[in-house]
Amino acid sequence: MRVNKLNAAGWRRAALGALLMAAAGLASADELNMPVGVTEISRSVYDLHMIILWVCVVIGIVVFGAMFWSIIHHRRSQGHEAAQFHENTRLEIAWTIVPTIILIAMAVPATSTLIKMYDTGGEDMTVEVRGYQWKWQYKYLDEDYQSTFGFMSTLATPQDEFYNRSAKGEHYLLEVDEPLRIPINKKVRFLLTSEDVIHAWWVPDFGIKRDAVPGILNELWTIVEEPGVYRGQCTELCGKDHGFMPVVVQAMEQEDFDAWYATKLKEEQERKALESMVFTTDELMARGEEVYTKNCVSCHQANGQGVPPVFPSLVGSPVATGDRDAHIRMVLNGVPGTSMQAFGAQLSKAEIAAVVHYERHAWGNNAEDITQPVDVANVEAGQ
């Protein structure tokens, strides 16, 4: 009997604990709950989330309440005799029909929100979002869906912070070198695809998430109401650095956005101009190191030694010390079936020339050649 009394106390404590947990779950502090977000869609999604959560909580209280009532009162230690009923048709019909009605009531707002989310037409501008292992490329498309300019958006958190060699910043793992910029109060349509494996693009504050699938173009849209920086992450396992490809979007006032857009267009023209320039070896090494650090280091490592056998070493490798044009071709086209991407679509000819030159002269590699943008252009034209 004594043991059973202890059990009763135990159960009461457990019930209290469960209630406290539920209460904690319902406190809508930022770190405990879904963000309300800054779009009409994100607010409807948040409302749906809260409705269904409360429905579950109420059902939970009723169901677990009945159960704990029974556990406390209908126990042998209290001298309770077992009843022998085992059927009640009316009750059974009721608890089939009532949940069905609740579900139908729930499906109505869910359906209308979903229909709204699928209304992709009437956009003010279109951005192509392309997933790469492990970064995002954003291209601004004009009315004919031609690219005006684009850029890569890569994790900006330094490696020292991962390895606890320096203090972690406020936006650890959620910061990029260049965020996607969009104007507020404009319908921005995103076209998502991928260059290699499946990624998923997610900004919690916009209430939208969609997979970026190779060979498929997915659509998504948003109208952001508040200027600000919004952070999310890739949410589909995409290989080694899946945890290191954040999504950062900066929503700006229209005039700020226009000014930025104009600057980027000008930079794009200057970048094109670079492709006909001739650089000194020092310039090539400096630019090359910059490009390498941004694009190559996660596989081939800062010391060029890679992580064999998956990510080969470049130090003294046949590619980095052999035929230069073959080296350029590999960077341009990648190696199908491996993680080595085709950088021809991601980098300018000047950048490719610099990084090839850098790889052939860094870490003791000593190829007797210089690689200029024009060489890259020649290789590309000749292939």
């Binding site: 947990m21 269904i52 579950c56 979903l114 991962f162 499946i198 699938v213």
Partner: protein, 536 residues
């Protein structure tokens, strides 16, 4: 024994037929009890190995930053943890329970196909030997998640993926043979009077589970074979560059994968439906509706698969269909929960360890069901999808769901299996450690998911730090308490008090009419099925 017709002088020793001696007993056994024991110990070993992998994951996630393992190894841990727990721990444990219990529950002398039974078990150590060995291969083991989405698992996979494919084929063969055996036993070997609607619910749930297995394991075999062809024979099923479709992989995988989820939970429903009436000393409420609910859940499991893929970009009509169908599952699942509670209602309850685990199952599985209902709401799912909210959801249905039911079953039937009782105090300590551990591990994951933490990442932003630390502490408590479970079981087998034949005063069913421990050969002639021993 006199019914056994002796046609051969060499078989005179039939009357004293017991187990062989030594290793041969286990290698060549065709006895359902021996094979059940093998399955259960094997699955427990896999549970510990998969658990160690989980602890590697939780150790790495204890704090932000990369501390213990590199991201590539972290991915191998998440992948193998999932595969080993699903295919190595939960499924074989239920097959082990089926082997031990189904013949005793339906009054059959053994499984219908004893030699195949031996084969279906002995394939498994090879399958998992191959799979675990990939971790030591050049380039590492599978690192693409237990769902192995193409093209990450094909074009971009490590070389060891071919071994993984072979291992999955072997596991599939084992499961298919196991399920054929269950179906053949239940449909052909019931004792006279044991009609279908008198079968214990555990037998019913396993019959339905076996049909699910039979339907979907070939689909799994098909999809890994398509991967094999893409990798080695130049096809492009899932390679967009060759005209294939990576999304098709997900459709085929989840056509297997969703019924698979129910394969892991239906037998758990069966176990709980046996235990609750025993300790409430009251017949199971709504037996018929329980059977129909399980059948409905099984049917629905075939038409909801794409709710795992709401973010791949399906057309609106598809999204709506899969949302509605998924929400519908809540109805039969609710019926089951209501029935269990009605069984307890006005009973005369006691709370021995199996009952504690069964009650925890009902509560915590229901919480997993609630988050499942939330996940069904497609617009909200966009926010939950592939975050820790999903991790919390499926761990709630699998750990305090499937695994608690297996633990409950072990405590409940162990006295029948080995003839000795476990120590009630030790069992209760194990229960409370597990109960606290599992909730401290997985409840905070709801919050980190809602706050935006994606799953399968080796490092995370700072706002997720507190919940991850809590979760890691819970995981180590839970992990330790399962090692303690092994101690409790071994203590029971070696030093436990002698068990009575009936074991529990409220127990009904043919297995309790046998002596404890159950003799090596039981029901060699069919028992008479009295009303009292039909379904409780």
């Amino acid at each position: 024994m006199s019914e056994v017709v002796e046609t051969h002088a060499g078989h005179d020793d039939h009357d004293h037929h017991g187990p062989d001696k030594g290793l041969a007993r286990w290698l060549f056994t065709t006895n359902h009890k021996d094979i059940g024991t093998l399955y259960l110990w094997f699955s427990f070993a896999m549970f510990l190995i998969g658990g160690m992998m989980a602890l590697v994951i939780r150790a790495e996630l204890f704090e932000p930053g990369l501390q213990f393992v590199a991201p590539e190894f972290f991915n191998q841990m998440t992948t193998n943890h999932g595969l080993i727990m699903v295919f190595g721990a939960v499924m074989p444990a239920f097959v082990g329970l089926a082997n031990w219990l189904i013949p005793m529950m339906v009054g059959a002398p053994d499984m219908a196909l004893p030699r195949m039974n031996n084969l279906s078990f002995w394939i498994l150590p090879f399958a998992f030997g191959i799979m675990i060995s990939t971790l030591f291969m050049e380039g590492g083991g599978p690192n693409f998640g237990w769902t192995f989405y193409a093209p990450l698992s094909t074009t971009y996979a490590p070389d060891s993926v071919t071994y993984f494919i072979f291992a999955v084929h072997l596991m599939g063969a084992s499961s298919i043979m196991g399920s054929i055996n269950v179906i053949a036993t239940i449909l052909n070997m019931r004792a006279p009077g044991m009609t279908l609607m008198k079968m214990p619910l555990f037998v019913w749930t396993w019959l339905i589970t076996a049909y699910l297995l039979l339907a979907v394991m070939p689909v799994l075999a098909g999809v890994v074979t398509m991967m094999l062809f893409d990798i080695h024979f130049g096809t492009s099923f899932f390679n967009a560059a060759g005209g294939g479709d990576p999304v098709m992989f997900q459709h085929i995988f989840w056509f297997f994968g969703h019924p698979e989820v129910y394969i892991m939970i239906l037998p758990a429903f069966g176990v709980v439906s046996q235990i609750i009436p025993t300790f409430a000393r009251k017949p199971l409420f709504g037996y018929d509706s329980m059977v129909y609910a399980v059948a409905s859940i099984a049917f629905l499991s075939f038409i909801v698969w794409a709710h795992h893929m709401f973010t791949v970009g399906m057309p609106l009509a598809g999204q709506l269909f899969f949302m509605y169908a998924t929400m519908l599952i809540a109805v039969p699942t609710g019926v089951k929960v209501f029935n269990w509670i009605s069984t307890m209602w006005r009973g005369s309850m006691t709370f021995e360890t199996p009952m504690l685990f069964a009650i925890a199952f009902v509560i915590l599985f229901t919480i997993g069901g609630f988050s499942g209902l939330m996940l069904a709401i497609t617009p909200a799912d966009y926010q939950y999808h592939d975050t820790y909210f999903v991790v919390a959801h499926f761990h709630y249905v699998l750990v305090p769901g499937a695994i608690f039911s297996i633990i409950a079953a072990v405590y409940y039937w162990l006295p029948k299996w080995c003839g000795r009782m476990y120590d009630e105090t030790l069992g209760k300590i194990h229960f409370w450690l597990s109960f606290i551990g599992v909730n401290v591990t997985f409840f905070p994951q709801h919050f980190s998911g809602l706050a935006g933490m994606p799953r399968r990442i080796p490092d995370y932003a700072l706002q997720f730090a507190d919940f991850n630390m809590l979760s890691s502490i819970g995981a180590f408590i839970f992990g330790f308490s399962q090692v303690f479970f092994m101690f409790v079981v071994i203590h029971a087998i070696t030093r436990g008090k002698k068990a009575t034949d009936r074991v529990w005063d409220g127990a009904h069913g043919l297995e309790w009419t046998l002596p404890s421990p159950a003799p090596y050969h039981s029901f060699t002639h069919p028992p008479k099925v009295s009303d009292a021993e039909a379904h409780s």
